[in-house]
């Protein structure tokens, strides 16, 4: 049994548009944009059943590079995904991988850009779904049930 990478769902959501991923952490308000190579890796993680080793081997094959070279290029990115709490590892085995997509002509270190501007917005005008807990403070009303 190996360690499979998985998106930290449901707190982390993502969408890929024109080959570039946007990731949103619903817990913190932080969001991220990924370059095409990082996005192709994210896509493999989001599909499920990918180990870091499997992704490295897939990219090495796609770009005609050696595994050690690709591992050196990708390890900081995997570490960053974990440090930002975007992915978790779960036990499982590498699923059968098809050919890894070649997201750009040359292999470069994948990049992830982080944006924190939404957090200011959340502080300024927070919005909550509430039940009894969190209900606004209220004065007694004639419609209240007798104590």
């Amino acid at each position: 049994m190996d360690s499979v990478l998985a998106v930290r769902s449901p707190q982390v959501i993502s969408e890929i548009l024109d080959g570039e991923a946007v990731i949103i952490d619903l817990e913190t308000g932080t969001y991220y944009s990924l370059d095409p190579i990082a996005s192709s890796i994210w896509d493999a993680i989001a599909a499920g059943g990918s180990t870091a080793t499997g992704i490295v081997e897939g990219i090495a094959a796609a770009y005609g590079k050696g595994v050690p070279e690709v591992e050196a290029a990708l390890t900081p990115f995997f570490s960053r995904l974990a440090a930002e709490r975007l992915v978790v590892t779960v036990s499982g085995s590498q699923a059968a991988l098809g050919p890894f997509p070649k997201a750009s002509a040359n292999l470069t270190e994948p990049t992830l850009s982080r944006f924190d501007d939404i957090q200011d917005l959340l502080l300024l005008d927070p919005i909550h779904e509430v039940e009894e807990a969190g209900w606004p403070a209220r004065k007694p009303d004639p419609g209240d049930e007798p104590a």
Partner: protein, 341 residues
């Protein structure tokens, strides 16, 4: 003010929504009756009922361009009251699971309770007089977001400008120039469907529907539009953005909506000409989706997917805002020409 002759019910209603409507009715009796206004938003007849007149200046001005004749069946219905003018306090929520949704904005003190159909909502504030102008600029956001979500339309944090035969969604992070882009179009051949929030529908013919005929600007942006400074409705409100109501003065420049031909994301350069260049949709998705999702309650994953789908159907441009705001409508018209199907 007291609760007047309004009597509480013999037994408490079972759902929070029913408790809220019961309180609303008591508030209306205490205030001398209901006021009713009708609007057409996104093709839906919205009937707004307020307990007395106090909530009308909070909820109605930004919807002035969408006023409809009363008497049509309500597709959407809102009941609103405040405690200060009616003496009727907020009831306790029901403790059972009832399918209602309760959205609380503690920063501005607005509670919105929707029933399980999401077509009806009760809105409460402690005092209508204390609602900030920035809420008056974009009222009922939580309700309209959740109601139209069920109807397949997406509330988005974006401006929109265009003609009856086609227009552009204008997306950007706070301060990127959405309002500048929209307000530059006042008096131009391009109508303004919104400066901060609009409703968008996806599909083979994506459309934008106007929600609010209001605009908010940073004080430094107002200097670029000196002719608007006399129209600021909150000149003395500390800590709030200057807010402008476009109706009736600029009613001719307000659009109820149009087919979407593309999306632009402005970037303030401040020198040289205003010009557009094609970009991929991901930058616009990053500019639009997070600020939409976090300003609205509870549909994050689906909202992201919907916005992604919408942008997938639209060509995208970055609009570099140059020295003169008067160049902006012309640059947008060139984009629309390029986007013509």
């Amino acid at each position: 003010m007291t609760d007047g002759g309004a009597t509480p019910p013999a037994s408490l209603p079972e759902t929070t929504f029913d408790r809220m409507t019961d309180a609303f009715r008591r508030a209306a009796r205490a205030a001398g009756g209901e006021e009713e206004r009708a609007f057409v938003i996104g093709g839906q007849q919205l009937v707004l009922r307020t307990a007395g007149p106090a909530m009308l200046p909070v909820l109605a001005p930004a919807l002035a361009h969408l006023v409809a004749a009363p008497g049509e069946p309500a597709g959407l219905e809102v009941f609103a009251w405040d405690s200060a003018s009616t003496g009727v306090e907020l009831p306790a929520p029901a403790s059972t699971e009832d399918g209602d949704r309760h959205v609380w904005q503690p920063g501005v003190g607005i509670l919105t309770v929707l029933d399980d159909s999401r077509r009806r909502a009760v809105v409460w504030v402690a005092s209508a007089a204390d609602v900030p102008s920035n809420e008056v600029a974009a009222p009922l956001r939580s309700f309209l977001h959740l109601a139209f979500y069920e109807l397949g339309a997406q509330f988005v944090h974006a401006a929109a400008v265009g003609r009856a035969d086609g227009g552009l969604l204008v997306v950007g992070r706070s301060g990127a120039g959405k309002s500048t882009t929209a307000l530059a179009c006042l008096g131009s051949p391009l109508g303004v469907a919104g400066d901060d929030y609009v409703l968008a529908t996806d599909g083979p013919e994506p459309r934008v529907h106007s929600l609010y005929s209001s605009a908010k600007l940073e004080p430094h942006q107002l200097r670029r539009f000196p002719h608007l400074s006399g129209a600021v409705v909150n000149p003395d409100a500390a800590g709030e953005k200057p807010m402008i109501l476009l109706c009736p003065r600029w009613a001719g420049s307000v659009s109820a909506g149009f087919p979407l031909r593309g999306a632009v994301t402005p970037r303030v350069v401040g020198r040289g000409p205003t010009r557009a260049r094609r970009v991929g949709g991901a930058a616009l998705l990053a500019a639009l989706a997070p600020s939409t999702i976090f300003q609205l309650p509870g549909t994050g994953r689906h909202t992201l997917a919907r916005i992604g789908s919408l942008l997938r159907h639209l060509p995208c441009w970055e609009l570099e805002l140059g020295e003169n705001v008067s160049d902006i409508p012309l640059a947008l018209e060139r984009v629309l020409e390029e986007a013509r199907p």
